[in-house]
Symmetry: C2
């Protein structure tokens, strides 16, 4: 069975995001094992300096690194953009080499350069969205990939 790890910041606060995630994870359970690992966001002051942010991201890098398995993708604004068909292809090309794929979603301040430099970067949108909403984008798009791969009718 395909295994997908989603490594992301904090637990979903909004009830509507919790329920959206629940729905997509339920749909995905037909196709793969999904594990969502939530790591705690490093607390920062309301106006942190660049070096305070960098230190926090380095600390998060260590935590995130301990959860990485198989092929790793990080979601970042600088990443490569894929349409849904190409993302599906990328996903299953990766599964042909590893039965586990890990996606990492950063916090409000993003992800450390060390992490971004080490793994494939994917950009879902040039726009900035709340990271909890990005988690829903990712789960929906993984589900869409399985429907494309299995030729299952789904919203176009």
């Amino acid at each position: 069975m395909y295994k997908i790890n989603i490594v992301c910041t904090g637990s979903l606060k909004e009830q509507y995001f919790k329920e959206a995630q629940e729905e997509y994870l339920k749909r995905l359970s037909r196709f793969c094992d999904v594990k969502v690992t939530e790591f705690g966001e490093t607390r920062l002051s309301s106006s942190p300096s660049t070096s305070e942010i960098a230190t926090a991201l380095d600390k998060e890098y260590d935590i995130i690194s301990s959860h990485l398995k198989g092929k790793v993708f990080v979601l970042s604004l600088e990443g490569k953009q894929y349409d849904s068909e190409a993302f599906c292809k990328k996903l299953f090309d990766s599964f042909s080499m590893s039965d586990t794929i890990t996606f990492v979603i950063g916090s409000s301040y993003g992800l450390s350069q060390k992490l971004k430099g080490k793994y494939d970067n994917i950009c879902f949108s040039k726009m900035t969205f709340p990271h909890h909403l990005v988690r829903i984008f990712l789960e929906e798009q993984i589900y869409r990939s399985f429907t494309i791969k299995n030729n299952i009718s789904y919203h176009k």
Copy 2:
């Protein structure tokens, strides 16, 4: 007061999308009047031909056209991509010329070429998402624009 029209297909079915929309519309009410106009999606067979789709989109074009006011943007995969800062600038540049802005979100089959040819096209993501989820992207991003414009602290 700024006025925003969102013209889109059908009513939100999923409770979690309804609640997410409610939250963003509540937040937006501080800054602008938002009107969401939902038009009925033309019914098509499960495997419609290209010409059946074109006919349906032309029919939807007539309905959509009757709801357009002020400056119009259509959301399409072929549209221009903006980051959040640039989208904010585009929004307020448009408000400087018109107190009303209309955004159009198509159905599963997209929007007619006539409509896309006539107005500015914006692309939120190269990936295809359910149009109900795209509505949440749009509402979140409009809210984000107001926080950027008003220098209000919000998720980065």
